[in-house]
């Protein structure tokens, strides 16, 4: 039970710090809003082109907001040397990873939940009928993103280029989960049931499973000196 107690402690800490400062959530949410608005300027609102790319815009919004949250996740540990503090505890490195990744996932979900209605309104997309299926896709996409993202964020926080490296490293790896999420969202918004997008769901699940396991194992090597 030590493992989950430690995961819980880290998750609790990240949430309390965020509730105090609201740094991550506010910047993530505001950024998400900006992306949605800018895309509305680029394409003619209400046009056919807009409807086609709407799912893409939704996920671009989520990924860029998520990226902000990821970098913050480890810069906060760099202040005052807190990452060393975590490594000094007799804690499984896997617990540190899971705690951090869960924290990232939670923040992303919160931002997604708030951004979704804005997306529906600005892009004039009927989100409610497909809500349940959308939430499942969002959950899968968020978990996959967090799993690899947390691992890579820990890495990029330690390179000379810091946060700039993160999108360069992360985005190519995320191609399968992004494709699955965007195409799945497109189909679901058009009225498809989950059965119709089973191919995408399978890829998303495989991605999440594979990279959660791999990241837990590899995190050890990333943080030790």
């Amino acid at each position: 039970m030590g493992f989950w107690a430690q995961v819980g402690a880290i998750l609790w800490k990240d949430i309390v710090v965020e509730l105090r400062t609201k740094e991550r959530l506010s910047s993530m949410f505001f950024f998400a809003l900006l992306v949605i608005v800018i895309f509305n300027f680029v394409f003619e609102p209400g046009s056919e082109a807009m409807r086609e790319i709407a799912p893409g815009i939704l996920w671009v919004t989520f990924t860029f907001a998520g990226l902000l949250g990821l970098t913050r996740s480890f810069t906060m540990e760099r202040e005052n040397g807190c990452l060393s503090g975590l490594l000094l505890c007799p804690a499984d490195r896997g617990a540190i990873f899971v705690g951090k990744a869960l924290g990232n996932a939670v923040f992303m979900v919160v931002v997604e939940a708030v951004a979704l209605p804005f997306f529906g309104v600005f892009m004039n997309v009927a989100v409610l009928p497909a809500l349940g299926r959308l939430l499942i896709l969002m959950a899968l996409g968020t978990v996959g993103f967090s799993a690899v993202g947390t691992l890579f964020a820990a890495m990029s926080a330690n390179t000379k280029m810091r946060e700039v490296m993160l999108p360069l490293l992360l985005f190519p790896i995320l191609v399968p989960i992004l494709l699955a999420a965007v195409k799945g969202t497109e189909a679901v918004l058009a009225g498809e049931g989950l059965g119709g997008v089973s191919g995408w769901v399978k890829i998303a699940v495989a991605f999440c499973a594979l990279f959660t396991a791999a990241s837990i194992l590899l995190f050890d090597y990333v943080v030790e000196e």
């Binding site: 107690a5 202040e79 807190c82 503090g85 490594l87 000094l88 505890c89 007799p90 030790e224 000196e225």
Partner: protein
């Protein structure tokens, strides 16, 4: 409790890329002893401490803390050591109380509430438990750091320049706290540039220059002026 010295290191080397930080260091610290390590910047002191703290892997050599190997049994070692560095390892946005509770949970401690209260009282922060740690003065942060590092009652304390940035009254308070910890029978290894305090608290002193010991001595009969002269002599020689 395992037999033997609190810390035993043999032939420790550490190379970072092209730089040799430590070039064959032996160390033996008996239980309850207080060792002060001096040396110029870049001598490898922090690296040595990092190895003892299981944060840095030695390139070669064997290191045992409380009988446990720092590489094979790092988990065991971590439960027995408390580390204070010049960084506070404190979350500025949490209160003092929350910081200690967090670390307490990470160490798997029971009766957390009581333990944290006692720890805060011991370092003189009893009334400030529910204040945001970021608002503390440097001296108070250092005291909170001590509370953090001793919460799990470690038998070995590793300190990396704890007196840095403290004013005289905070320094004296820290000295008092360290003296009390030593009185409780804990083994302490402290890196410091503060010759007066370093000598005052220690049973033995050692001088590390360019990754090697150049001087080791019991403190009995040594005064600060003498130590300073010895220090200058060895550092000048390079």
């Amino acid at each position: 409790m395992r037999e033997g010295p609190a810390i035993e290191a043999v032939g420790v080397t550490k190379t970072f890329g092209g730089t040799r930080a430590l070039r064959g260091v032996d160390l033996r610290v008996e239980r309850g002893d207080f060792l002060s390590i001096f040396g110029p910047n870049g001598a490898g002191k922090s690296t040595l401490l990092g190895i003892l703290a299981t944060l840095v892997r030695p390139t070669s050599g064997s290191v045992r803390v409380e009988g446990w190997d720092v590489r094979e049994d790092a988990h065991q070692v971590r439960g027995k050591i408390g580390v204070i560095s010049h960084q506070t390892l404190i979350y500025d946005d949490l209160t003092a109380y929350e910081n200690l509770c967090f670390y307490g949970r990470m160490y798997g401690l029971r009766d957390l509430g009581g333990r944290v209260e006692r720890a805060l009282a011991q370092v003189g922060l009893a009334g400030r438990g529910h204040d945001r740690a970021g608002g503390f003065s440097r001296g108070m942060k250092q005291r909170l750091s001590i509370a953090r590092s001793t919460l799990h009652a470690p038998s070995v304390l590793l300190l990396d320049e704890p007196f840095t940035g403290l004013d005289p009254s905070a320094s004296d308070m820290l000295s008092g706290l360290l003296g009390a910890l030593k009185g409780e029978g804990r083994t302490v290894v402290m890196i410091t540039h503060d010759i007066a305090h370093g000598l005052d608290l220690a049973d033995r002193v050692a001088l590390l220059v360019q990754g090697r010991w150049v001087y080791q001595q019991a403190t009995k009969g040594l005064d600060p002026a003498q130590l300073k002269a010895i220090y200058e002599q060895h550092v000048q020689a390079v």
